[in-house]
Amino acid sequence: MASKASPGKPKKKGLFDRVRDTQIWKSIFRHGYPDTQRNRALAVLSNVFLHLHPVRVRKSGIALSFTWCMGGVTFFLFLVEAVTGILLMFYYRPVAYSAYNDIQELRETIPLGMMRELHRWGAHAMVLTVWLHMFRVFMTGSYKPPREFNWVIGVVLLLLTLLLSFTGYLLPWDQLAIWAITVGSNMARATPLQGHEGPFSQLLTLDGEALVTAGSDVRFALLGGRFVGENALLRFYVLHCVFIPVVAVTLMAVHFWRVRKDGGISGPL
């Protein structure tokens, strides 16, 4: 697949240049070496991932001391979680008799066991960075018009990040896991109207029968039972691995799109 040596050129072509000249390379990257304005613009425009970005950005916007890169770091950590999470899914089965053992196997024998560490510490880090990102956006007043709605989407993303972390907390199925989730989900018991120990819930009756009981309130719906058991494990697994990530990815797409449509990273007018 070597290209024809062009007669007028004195310099010999290196391996890299040869690869760049192949039909395969050219079919993937439809622009020349990004050393000209045009090719640099094309590098971004012709790549679906880089195309999350505009071609040009305001210099002040990308200064590390302005954004602290916290939104970007949050997104990167989300990707780390996705990759390590998928690898963990190869080994982990969300049923009570095997969940704990699978985690133990990951710790002790499975070569990719470090994925668990990456996944857990990455999750902690993501909670942290998403708070810091919100803090930065607040301190620069970047939620002000025209970015109001993107802030609202951000708050939902913050909530989803916490829920992702919370649902994942149960999966190791150890003492720490079930009791943390027990403490957390006990709150749902006290939901006004919808929890069986919540204010006013006993006012909801049908023919004198209570409608909201320990076997029918929101906590029951969340856990699939009266306590944190097998059903809760399965529900949390599905929420953690499928439902919340899908919603989060969708909203992140909207979030990034809106950053661009609202005029790029904010700056003084």
């Binding site: 640099r40 305001r58 770091v73 780390v80 909670v127 919370f166 003492q175 943390a180």
Partner: protein, 363 residues
């Protein structure tokens, strides 16, 4: 020397008790905001930061302190504390520089480059690449150095003491000390989320959009920081490091003794009113019994807004329309309800203002 150490320990333990720590953090924050131009100067903020590091490192000589600080799942909170401290400094420092520039009629730092733009490739892509490589290295280092914990297999019969929620919810769990689950665990979190979402629509101040500043947004930033630093970060810190078995308070150098008993001496408003003040028995019917508490709540809800409109919100009251102003006041009242109950507890051993177990309504 031993005496000095013992004295220092005593001071730290006393100051760490929630009834002192929360007010201390609050006062420190208010002072920082008031004197931000001086406090954020590197030669002032630097030594403060150093002092915190010295405190943490020095305290690590204590076995109990070391044990709780180095628990694997607590590492993120240490990171959180340092990054929040650093970033609060950074943002207020930039605000101070911008505000000084504004006084001289100069534009903020962020306007240095005016409309100057750069190409995403290579400028931004390069930054992203460096950050990705650096973060990957950091995470790999963290993952190799610190194994993820795994405790005993789940058992519904053995309740650990203390049972703690995941660390990012410990601020909420700490609020349970003061309010019942329906309020601390459901209503307040809901109001936090609603309040956050409402921010862009109630803050109509057009200034300070896209650059750091404090003078132009003093009220908004103060309220946000009080919520974030005092009622979120500080409460998480207390919930993680200072709450042991039975959610009792333990100083940072104390051993978590499961058998420590704390006398329960909290009482309800109804008891204070009927028994202590009127020296008679408690009325039978709940609506009579709880009348004093209900009156107090109604007074809080009715007189609170008037007081706010006359004092801290005086300017806002003139600027905002009635809908926005009502939302602001409602959110603020929810926020104030937390420190109000805290003060009641710390000063009067107040348990419930309103106690109607018949309907699960306890406030």
């Amino acid at each position: 020397m031993d005496n000095v150490l013992a004295f220092l320990r005593w001071i730290v333990t006393e100051a760490a008790a929630p009834k002192l720590l929360v007010p201390l953090v609050f006062v420190a924050l208010i002072l920082t905001l008031k004197y931000y131009r001086v406090v954020t100067k590197p030669r002032v903020a630097g030594p403060i930061g150093l002092l915190i590091v010295v405190f943490l490192v020095g305290s690590c000589f204590d076995a109990n302190f070391r044990k709780i600080i180095t628990k694997a799942d607590n590492i993120p909170i240490i990171l959180l504390l340092f990054s929040v401290f650093f970033l609060v400094w950074l943002s207020l420092r930039r605000a101070a520089l911008n505000d000084e520039a504004a006084e001289k009629g100069e534009p903020p730092l962020e306007a240095r480059f005016k409309r100057e733009t750069v190409l995403v490739w290579p400028d931004l892509v390069m930054i992203e690449l460096i950050v990705i490589v650096g973060l990957t290295a950091l995470l790999a280092f963290w993952a190799v150095g610190l194994p993820a914990p795994l405790e005993e297999p789940a058992s519904a019969a053995l309740t650990p003491n203390p049972s703690k929620a995941p660390w990012y919810f410990l601020g909420l769990q700490e609020m349970l000390v003061y309010y019942d689950p329906w309020y601390a665990g459901v209503v307040l979190p809901t109001m936090i989320v609603v309040g956050l979402m409402a921010i862009p629509y109630i803050d109509t101040n057009p200034k300070g959009n896209g650059y750091y500043t404090l003078v132009e947004r003093k009220f908004a930033i103060s309220v946000f920081l009080i919520g974030f630093i005092v009622f979120w970060i500080a409460l998480i810190t207390i919930g993680t490091f200072l709450r042991g078995p039975n959610w009792n308070f333990f100083g940072p150098y104390d051993y978590w003794d499961v058998h420590m008993s704390v006398p329960l001496k909290n009482i309800n408003i109804s008891e204070i009113f009927w028994v202590k003040m009127l020296k008679q028995g408690m009325p039978e019917a709940w609506y009579v019994r709880e009348l004093p508490g209900i009156v107090m709540v109604i007074a809080f809800v009715m007189i609170g807004p008037l007081l706010l409109a006359k004092t801290v919100l005086k300017k806002l009251f003139k600027q905002l329309d009635i809908v926005r102003f009502s939302v602001v006041v409602t959110l603020l009242l929810f926020m104030i309800s937390l420190p109000a109950k805290m003060l009641g507890r710390w000063l009067f051993n107040l348990k419930y203002v309103v106690y109607i177990p018949e309907y699960f309504i306890n406030l």
